[in-house]
């Protein structure tokens, strides 16, 4: 019997790079897609929408990555990484689309690694530190419900690329919301301690609701989801409060700059390098 395997073939010469996943030097996730901006679509506005949604996703993915090796159970390790990877994938597609239409021709990494906190357009709820599992889960419920509602509308966007990204994202976000909702119900209903922590998390998250309902009118849809989940979890619906400033305008908490410093550290230390 043979124990032969691909390890032995690593150093074999090949004409091209097709044996590597996606090839090497892979830079354009939208390669091969018709990227013309349709008539009647404002390229600047389209780019702004893409960057804002990409920033939400990248910052959320970074926070989810921080859970790695810290989750309460192995199933949660797998699930949180899954959600983080989905959001990272959405960010990459959206940055690429933004770079095509904003006239700069920038690639995804230019947006992620070479902009400062002031240039990021994510909502502040995404950048808050993870807190405990209750906070992360409640935040995920709110952000995934909100993002899913937006993406469901964006499927009808006149730009076919954004529409396709949204259609793919809807399937992913439906799972994210389901996962978060199940945990909020478990935690709200579980023990006195889990109930207390989840209730507190809801109040903390509610303080950042204010800026979520601007771009698309999805407030009622999101409120309906939260109402259903908190009802099943035996938790009170939190009270909305106005929040001065806007992440979409570049206003951020003190937590974004350190998050970006870590995310960008290696890339900025070696600006000439290829990865």
């Amino acid at each position: 019997m043979s124990d032969d395997h691909v390890y032995m073939t690593l150093a074999e010469g090949h004409e091209d790079d097709t044996r590597w996943a996606y090839g090497t030097g892979f830079e354009d996730p939208l390669h091969g897609v018709d990227t013309t901006v349709p008539e009647g679509v404002d390229a600047g506005e389209l780019a702004d929408v893409c960057v804002a949604l990409a920033d939400d996703a990248l910052v959320s993915a970074q926070r989810l990555a921080e859970w790695t090796t810290r989750a309460p159970e192995l199933e949660e390790e797998v699930a949180l990484a899954n959600i983080g990877l989905d959001l990272l994938g959405q960010a990459r597609l959206l940055y690429s689309r933004a770079g095509q239409v904003d006239g700069t021709g920038r690639g995804e990494d230019a947006y992620a690694y070479f902009r400062d906190a002031d240039d990021f357009r994510n909502v502040r709820l995404a950048e808050l530190p993870n807190g405990d599992f209750a906070f992360s889960t409640v935040r995920l419920l709110v952000l995934s419900s909100w993002r899913l509602a937006q993406f469901a509308h964006l499927v009808a966007h006149p730009d076919p690329v954004l529409s396709a990204i949204a259609a793919k994202g809807v399937k992913e976000l439906t799972y994210h919301r389901q996962y978060a909702a199940e945990w909020v119900v478990r935690l709200g209903d579980g023990t006195a301690e889990s109930h207390r922590r989840t209730r507190k998390a809801l109040e903390q998250v509610a303080a950042y609701f204010g800026e979520l309902f601007t771009a698309y009118d999805v407030r009622d849809e999101v409120a309906a989801v939260l109402c259903q989940v908190t009802g099943a979890a035996g938790l009170p619906m939190p009270v909305y409060r106005p929040l001065p400033g806007a992440g979409r305008a570049g206003d951020h908490t003190e937590h974004l700059a350190p998050l970006l410093a870590e995310l960008q550290s290696v890339a900025r230390a070696h600006p000439e390098a290829t990865w």
Binding site: L10, T69, P72, R186, V266, W275
Partner: protein, 371 residues
């Protein structure tokens, strides 16, 4: 999300068919199946010391087991097996599972710092795969009567080991590539023969794990190829990482054969298929041409091709260092254990909440049915 161990690792002991498209595949080996009885199903560990006395035809069972091993066929969860075989497997599979979980840490530290979004996605997915491997392996151990929570407790109390390699620090992003190339490569050398291990659930888990490890290993090597085409600083990072990881990687195969007390029995049981030294030699022979292709130097002055043997000669790893690391005195042992312990303890209230909710749901369903 939780896998049911029995469901996931269903063996020929329970009649089943697998359909691929229109073809119906039957179990390849027509096992003689023992009737389920008190010593062949359920939680076996606690009974393991008493069942031999109760078994009416102990000799017949042992004979059947020996014959199955001799025919290179698989032992399945419901088959009778000697206590030592069961204990050895639980120890080995648990140690393997722990290694996957602790092994998430050294590379996991770089997910948040990966220097491109593509590398971030690759690394994130790789570390996630390792959590998945841990899950399969704990499930395989559960088919032997072990319990995941109990195994986790043994790990964080230091009563069970994990691979010594994960007690070394990751100092630069090149380490991510070198871990893929060396550590996943060495793991593949160790694990591909385990796809033929005599215990069915372990062997089948290894098939999938090896496929994913191969993918990781190629990703690691591809990262290094890219870095070697980059700047001088990047090439220096790669060489530095190679220098640090080479000897610890050779130690992954365990002590030399003459100092490996459990190996002979494991080989006889066909749990293990090749000796530590043989696997180490294979790894060296495979890696040398890959290092040449990459353009890095392996840090061993004694490394040279031996025409007469048709294999490479190489230096002796520092076995005292391996002993130090295995006994808890490596560079990162405390940090790795501390992280795992903290995650487990801080997650306790979450697991308790999930259990409490499930109990309440069950009670509510019962009340609903009664009403």
């Amino acid at each position: 999300m939780r896998f049911g161990a029995q469901e996931f690792f269903r063996g020929p002991g329970q009649p089943f068919t697998i359909t691929f498209g229109h073809r119906v595949l039957l179990p390849r080996e027509n096992h003689v199946t023992l009737e389920p009885n008190e010593w062949s199903v359920g939680k076996l560990v606690s009974m393991a010391t008493t069942h031999s006395a109760e078994a009416p035809d102990r000799d017949g069972l042992q004979e059947h087991f020996d014959a199955t091993i001799a025919r290179d066929q698989r032992i399945e969860p419901r088959d009778w097996m000697p206590d030592g075989y069961r204990k050895t497997l639980i120890r080995q599979i648990a140690q393997h599972a722990h290694s996957e979980i602790i092994g998430m840490q050294p590379e996991g530290e770089w997910i948040t710092k990966a220097p491109s979004l593509r590398r971030k996605a690759i690394l994130f997915a790789k570390v996630q795969d390792e959590a998945g491997h841990g899950l399969y392996l704990y499930s395989a151990a559960e088919t032997l009567g072990a319990d995941r929570a109990d195994l986790t407790t043994r790990l964080i109390e230091g009563r069970q080991k994990y691979s010594s390699i994960f007690n070394y620090p990751t100092l630069s992003f090149a380490d991510v590539g070198v871990i893929g190339w060396f550590v996943d490569g060495a793991a593949i050398c160790n694990q591909v023969p385990l796809c033929r291990s005599s215990y069915g659930p372990y062997a089948r888990a290894m098939v999938r794990i090896c496929k994913e490890e191969s993918f990781h290993q190629r990703q690691g090597y591809e990262l290094l190829l890219t870095m070697m085409r980059g700047t001088d600083a990047q090439r220096a990072m790669v060489q530095d990482a190679v220098d640090r990881w080479w000897w610890p990687s050779l130690m992954m195969f365990g002590p030399p054969d003459d100092a490996s007390p459990n190996s002979a029995q494991s080989m006889a049981w066909k749990i293990k298929r090749h000796s530590n030294d043989e696997l180490r030699q294979r790894f060296v022979d495979m890696t040398v041409p890959q290092a040449d292709k990459l353009g890095v130097r392996l840090p061993d002055p004694e490394l040279r091709w031996n025409e007469a043997r048709g294999r490479h000669d190489f230096g002796t790893p520092d076995w005292d260092e391996l002993k130090r690391v295995i006994t808890g005195n490596g560079p990162c042992n405390d940090r790795r254990m501390e992280r795992r312990r903290t995650a487990h303890e801080e997650g306790a209230w979450v697991r308790e909440a999930a259990t409490a909710h499930a109990a309440k749901q069950a009670a509510r369903a019962k009340d609903g049915a009664a009403a």
